[in-house]
Symmetry: C2
Subunit: 349 residues, 2 copies
């Protein structure tokens, strides 16, 4: 027998391109167009390399306590990881451990089925309706867990909290994970439901609204039991996931709430301006509460427009998948970037 027979082979997730050149307009991975809070630069300047010889705090207290204070939770209700992908992957492994399928929308973050395949978790995709909205009654089937992003990606569609509460409340036998990577751009977090439902796990990230994709920080919030299970699984995988820089700089980012509110408001304003331009140009899109818009045009091919934009040095995201192959997901950049994009679209349309 060859060792290859024992290998767990997987089809990896395909992330958006991360080109090394800087002379492009990068609207393909929903990064923040503005730098992190000024406090992050200050915290960076205060780091001493000499401290790096020692392990970081395995409990991540500096960062966890900042987040706990910010959200008004005890530390025991907050868990941090290496980006929300790390938190979500661990949550899949920990909570989706049933023979019944887990449920998620057919159009959603394309890492969900990759994690399910990796950990051999059966899954069932629940179709969104024609407006890319969840049909809450479809989540009443037997399941081993439920996950969905809210706002959804790549559509940007936000589901009202009564939809979330319906799904969480009717599935008390399953953990329901609400992936709120884009919650700070207009939606309302389901965190307020966490005290009522002990099966609800909220996952958020520093990669979008906190402008820290490069630092890899994500977090989960929920009742103490959920967080304890997640923490046990972390301590059974890697005791020290967050390095010293992530702990310090992450905490600094949370502390500067004014800056956070200003940049998210700026992005929401730019999105509103861009929506009007899209309307004028005849694009169609679901109302977005994310830092991106999911657009299509009745007379244009999604794939062709994607290629034309790439050639012009404007990177957006396109998926060659059923139902969404005519759509492009466009990150909201700076006003200047969005004007350049709009000028190109003007000429192209």
């Amino acid at each position: 027998m060859a060792w290859q027979e024992n290998v767990r082979t997987v089809t990896p997730y395909t992330a958006g391109e991360q080109p090394k050149r800087r002379d492009i307009i990068k609207l393909n991975t929903n990064e923040c167009p503005y730098p992190p809070a000024p406090g992050v630069s200050k915290a960076l300047a205060e780091l001493s390399a000499d401290d790096f010889r020692l392990y970081p705090d395995p409990d991540c207290t500096a960062l966890v306590s900042c987040l706990a204070d910010y959200y008004g939770l005890p530390c025991e209700q907050v868990f941090v990881g290496v980006g929300s992908d790390d938190v979500l992957a661990l949550a899949f492994l920990t909570f989706f451990n049933s023979k019944k399928p887990i449920l998620f929308p057919d159009i959603t973050y394309s890492f969900y089925d990759v994690w399910a395949e990796l950990y051999r978790i059966p899954y069932q995709k629940i179709p969104l309706d024609g407006n890319f909205q969840m049909v809450k009654e479809d989540y009443l089937v037997k399941n081993g867990g439920i996950i969905f992003p809210n706002p959804n990606a790549p559509t940007g569609v936000f589901e009202d909290l009564d939809v979330v509460e319906f799904i969480v409340g009717k599935n008390s036998g399953s953990v329901v994970i609400v992936d709120e990577a884009y919650i700070d751009f207009g939606g309302t977090s389901a965190l307020s439901l966490a005290s009522k439902y002990d099966n609800l796990l909220i996952v958020q990230t520093f990669s979008k609204s906190r402008a820290m994709a490069g630092m890899r920080i994500g977090y989960a919030m929920g009742n103490q039991k959920l967080i304890k299970y997640l923490s046990d699984a972390k301590f059974a995988t890697n005791s020290y996931t967050m390095n010293r820089t992530a702990l310090s700089l992450g905490a600094a980012a949370v502390l500067d709430d004014d800056y956070f509110k200003k940049t998210t408001a700026k992005i929401i304003n730019t999105r509103a301006w861009f929506e009007k331009e899209l309307d004028r140009l005849g694009f169609i899109y679901p109302k977005s509460d994310g830092n991106f818009i999911f657009v299509t045009h009745p007379r244009l091919s999604g794939a062709e427009l994607f290629t034309a934009l790439s050639e012009r040095g404007i990177y957006v995201r396109h998926w060659n998948k059923p139902r969404i192959c005519e759509y492009l997901r466009i990150t909201i950049g700076t006003d200047e970037e969005m004007r350049a994009l709009t000028a190109f679209l003007d000429a192209y349309v």
Copy 2:
């Protein structure tokens, strides 16, 4: 049914204590007593927080190419992760995917059985002999994979490469992982065997000899097929594991080879001095090729000595486990720290 029934419950690994106070002599988690290379400080000063808004390079090219150059390998033979624990956990998930048990020594890194339990991998512990050495013929039983540290932890015992080659060569149907966290303190890496055996994976870390425990950087080396499988599994878990600071500072640490050789030589010298002191005091220990020594004393209780040291602010490691409960693992610190420890032992003995 309650959601708790779907939870994967685990008994986590217990890491050495990470006390927040600094007024102790910390010889309990095998950190380097010297700071990282001067180039790391320089690289830290050159970081700009503004760059952190963008995702890091998912392929970790800056760091991987430095390591590849250093070891004379193509980049396709190097994989990096968030500490060697991250790399090892992923390797367990990827390569130990058989119904046959994996094999590892009975006295070894105590994370191995935790990962096996987490991923539901059957395992069998192979007893070390009376001198804490591996009995290579015991590794000829049917297995789904083999892992051992070399030098071993917590014993410090290094197995000659012919033992490693015997085990790797006779088990061509399994992946054999040699965990070389402590290889730079006197042992010889099995990397030279990697071109001959495609089932050999070498794992190393920046946490010990490179004085970067706080940055969480580990790596694996092996043939391209092994590295590709590992990389696929990473891209099925978390596309961006290494943050921007780890990529830059890790690369800087590898580039300063002079400093690396000087600090490892210093630790080896201190170990030699400490061995003589241990001899004088009547302690017994296997010859160590790590940055720690595993000591016992014919007339002293390991648990009592551990407590006495803790009370005096000297932290070492003790396990309440069969065969090793009378031993303490003592990290090699600075000369000054080892003199303080020796003075205490002098009085205690």
